[in-house]
Subunit: 313 residues, 2 copies
């Protein structure tokens, strides 16, 4: 299967949003999550002919569920949040890998190396987010129930959800390994849920009770590995001005300067589109060639330049 | 860091038993598990100078805990057993990788590539074990409590524990990737908890409600990758005849023929030493050079030929 062409295939980093696994109105059974993953998996299998590929993914509902489960149960030692993130990397990594494996086999591609890696990500213990939990995780509750919960919550479009600290990613610990694997044409699934958050103290890594935004971690990884195109796959067709209003209009391409102006005018919601826009901007402003935000159904089309909102320098 | 010697380093596969993570009398907090892992991690870091290394591990208490937690909680979708195995691969893979990373840094080894992989393992859906659950997982209960449990249990030396189906591993799905990584001198952590059990049906993988014995999966991986020495690290110094009796005697080296005779005389308990002995025999009888069963404190000494019970053809 090894290609012997002299020009290596360009590298894509695809960040899969929550709807890759659980769709609106679903409870998130294992069967639903595996079925939903076929949508990106088939497209990624086709793209693998022309691109080397890194896949990252979110874990909001999954890590929230593990938190709820361990809070229900008094007979078992509770694990800190970073261990729960690690557990979701195992779960979702397996789900993506096996679904993609099947999609590759369906295309007759039987020798594509494919791995899911556990990934941890260094954050700064002075990160200002420790003063202000901001990342919603787990299920949504109504106001009445939310008032009874023993942890901080915020109101989101879906209802009231638990919030946890969400520090900025500083560096992906496995970046060298991921780069080496991509050079060998492995498809690599990594940085699940934004990575397991750790602080580095001399020669030790200490886990941190936090969740890193998966789009920002993906942008950091895209920079550190040096990818050619960074794709954020989500549940809307791209970046819109006046989203949800009669004047709503989606953007096809946008420069860093233009998008900065739209941010100042509060066009993007803090809990949804804004972190994606910031992740795309971070990659392009750091020297990355292109980033695109697209609907997961249009993943392949967006890579081919036919869908999504493309960020240029 | 890359060695340029012409002779590649021999390959070790080290299977870490449950006591690498949780010791007798411990409840298994995250802190305990990370602390306990320092014992093998320091030895593995030293061994990495002379050997290429694959690490596998058990997950019995961890997967049992996740089962208990999800049974406590009515508001969250329950996941099938193979997904819980995947979750433990994330948890324990992270714990081993970060502890080993620290041990390597302490020795001044900063560029050793190191990854934890999600691994799934094909089993045969006709496996006779489906008729008879035999693998104990999770916590131990007294007889009175055991009678009230809604699932099958067996009596073990620790008390009554839940039993699940434990089919034989047929092949490790990621064997080619693991072999390629070892050839590049990566340390690879994989096949956690014996691997995520799947049956292959044409072009799909279906997860199975079962747990594969981690020593048997490790033996299969050792064969498939072609390792030079297969080490099973546990909580006793090696294989003993008349274990626990006044006539107890530990074996230093043993041939396949001799050990077969001892098995026929019921020297080894089905829930503890027997599967380890069978795994060591499987590797050696399949053409593997040597296998050793050793105490985790003696891991390095056993590789150097100074501890444990060594299986020879």
């Amino acid at each position: 299967m090894k290609k012997t062409s002299n020009r290596p295939k360009p590298v894509l980093l695809i960040a899969l949003g929550g709807n890759a696994l659980i769709r609106k109105g679903q409870t998130g059974t294992a069967g639903q999550q595996l079925e939903n993953l076929k949508v990106p998996a088939k497209q990624i299998a086709r793209l693998s002919r022309d691109y080397r590929i890194i896949i990252t993914h979110g874990n909001g509902p999954q890590v929230g569920n593990l938190m709820l489960q361990q809070e229900c149960c008094d007979t078992v030692e509770r694990m800190p949040l970073e261990i729960l993130v690690a557990q979701t990397q195992g779960q979702i990594g397996y789900m993506i890998e096996s679904t993609l494996d099947e999609a590759l086999m369906e295309m007759g591609i039987n020798a594509q190396p494919l791995v899911s890696l556990i990934s941890y990500v260094v954050i700064d213990e002075q990160d200002p987010s420790f003063q202000k939990p901001s990342k919603p995780i787990g299920p949504a509750f109504d106001r009445e129930k939310a008032l009874t919960l023993p942890y901080p919550v915020i109101e989101t479009p879906k209802g009231f959800r638990r919030v946890v600290v969400s520090p900025k990613p500083v560096t992906i610990v496995e970046k060298r390994e991921i780069k080496a694997l991509i050079e060998k044409d492995f498809i690599v699934i990594c940085c699940g849920g934004g990575g397991i958050p750790v602080v580095r103290k001399g020669r030790t890594f200490d886990g941190v009770d936090a969740v890193i935004d998966k789009d920002l971690a993906s942008a950091r990884l895209a920079e550190e590995v040096g990818v050619d195109l960074f794709v954020i796959a989500t549940d809307v067709q791209g970046v819109a001005l006046d989203f949800g209003k009669p004047t709503e209009r989606f953007l096809q391409t946008i420069s860093l300067e233009e998008i900065s102006r739209h941010i100042l005018k509060d066009h993007f919601s803090a809990g949804a589109m804004l972190p994606k826009v910031e992740a795309a901007m971070q990659f392009v402003s750091g020297g990355g060639a292109q980033a695109v935000i697209t609907h997961i159904e249009d993943l392949e089309a967006s890579v081919r330049g036919k869908a999504g909102t493309r960020f240029l320098h």
